[in-house]
């Protein structure tokens, strides 16, 4: 029986379980990053008194390494705020915070790229500012920044390997467990690396195809 069969194929249940946790934590973090990024960006653009705070938060999230942020959220926040109370929560909060900083800047660039005439056209047919945002500015922004959003999602998937350090049972942690049982890292780690590379490749290819499809549907050039 080859090592590949013994150490990888026969352990597929464990590895798939880990992959499911990876997918789950990435999905939650991505949702948080989109919402957080949008809120930070809108506060920065439209809420004058809170603008410096929003800029400070965005810059802090962007300029701190994800590993440092993960440790910070995991060890400092519980003492400071009494939350998050599980490693899983710490994991997605840290991943989400980092990406919300990047997405806030992406959204801002997208919003600022919407031509002024489009907004004025909305006002001139009697839309309220809220309607102009919901029906003109945000859809246009989402289309222009779609490729960057996909890119940010792949960054989340790549960074999610680090949550294994705080013992979230993701694919990386399960792989390290297998390595520590048999001390035969070659097959397990190679397979894990291949799975991650494959997943990120699929996500970026599928995401790019989806973004291009939507952009073409609305008459924009594919990227």
């Amino acid at each position: 029986m080859s090592n590949w069969e013994r150490l990888v194929w026969n352990q597929r249940g464990l590895l798939l379980q880990g992959l499911a946790v990876t997918v789950e934590i990435c999905a939650i973090a991505f949702a948080m990053a989109i919402v957080g990024g949008l809120v930070l960006c809108l506060v920065r653009l439209h809420v004058r008194p809170l603008r410096p705070a929003a800029i400070a938060l965005i810059e802090f999230f962007r300029a701190t390494p994800i590993f440092v942020q993960l440790m910070w959220v995991n060890y400092v926040w519980p003492e400071l705020f009494g939350w998050p109370n599980s490693f899983f929560t710490s994991g997605w909060v840290a991943l989400g915070l980092q990406s919300s900083g990047y997405l806030a800047e992406t959204f801002r660039a997208g919003i600022e790229a919407v031509p002024k005439g489009h907004r004025e056209a909305g006002y001139s047919v009697g839309m309220s500012p809220f309607q102009v945002y919901r029906r003109i500015v945000l859809p246009e922004t989402l289309l222009t920044v779609a490729p960057s959003i996909v890119n940010q999602f792949t960054v989340i998937v790549k960074s999610s390997t680090l949550v294994s350090v705080i013992t979230v049972p993701d694919l990386m942690l399960q792989a390290m467990k297998l390595v520590n049982i048999w001390y035969e890292p070659i097959e397990v780690l190679t397979a894990t690396a291949a799975i991650y590379i494959g997943v990120v490749f699929l996500v970026s290819t599928a995401g790019k195809a989806l973004a291009d499809f939507q952009r073409r549907r609305f008459g924009l050039n594919a990227t």
Binding site: A63, P65, V68, V76, L80, K158, L162, I186
Partner: protein, 233 residues
Amino acid sequence: MSEALIDALNPALFWEYRLVLLRGLAFNAYVFFAAATVALVVGLAAALLRVNRAWPFRMLGTLHVEVFRNAPDYIMVIWVHFVLPLLLGKLIGQRIEFSPFVSAVIALGFVYSGYFAETFRAGIQSIPQGHLDAGRACGMGETAILWRIVLPQVVRRMLPEAVNQFVSLFKATTIVSLIAVPDLMYQVSMVTQQEMRPLPLYTGAAVTYFVVIYVVAGSVRGLSERWRNKIYA
């Protein structure tokens, strides 16, 4: 809560261990410079493969870029540290081991070479064909054209993008603490185990990295912008 906040922002503990922590930060810088050198050299090689006329070379370059751009840093660091020495050892029939520093440099260097290759390629392909033809018309060889016409322009064009990637690379150097390279994060976790006070230490680490990255990246961006403007204008 307010007590915890004061504790978090109290730099006394951080100051007490400043020498150890500074040495850690220096290690971050060593790893960064070594890995950046590897990334630039390998990235340039991969980019030249990708714009080669022969398709097998192009395929090889594309494979390199796709593998390393899609690989998470952490798994590559672990893989290079634990698997690569075994594979190389089997190949030459001898036991070898990498020190954590060497593993970190190889892994981060190769991962970021994927990104740099794409940046180089975009730069190379943005050079107008006429510049190459002009070089050939003056009787320059392909190597001379590459070094004297293509690359000087490429470097200027790719600089803003490259600065972003250097920033990412520096941020990625924090994960080398996980294979026991004694960088700042490693020292912080060691001190935390002694003092049992993660609050001020991890806050201090986060603030230190933020300040270093924010200030250095900002000034490098400013300088490179000035240099680019001076030459283009």
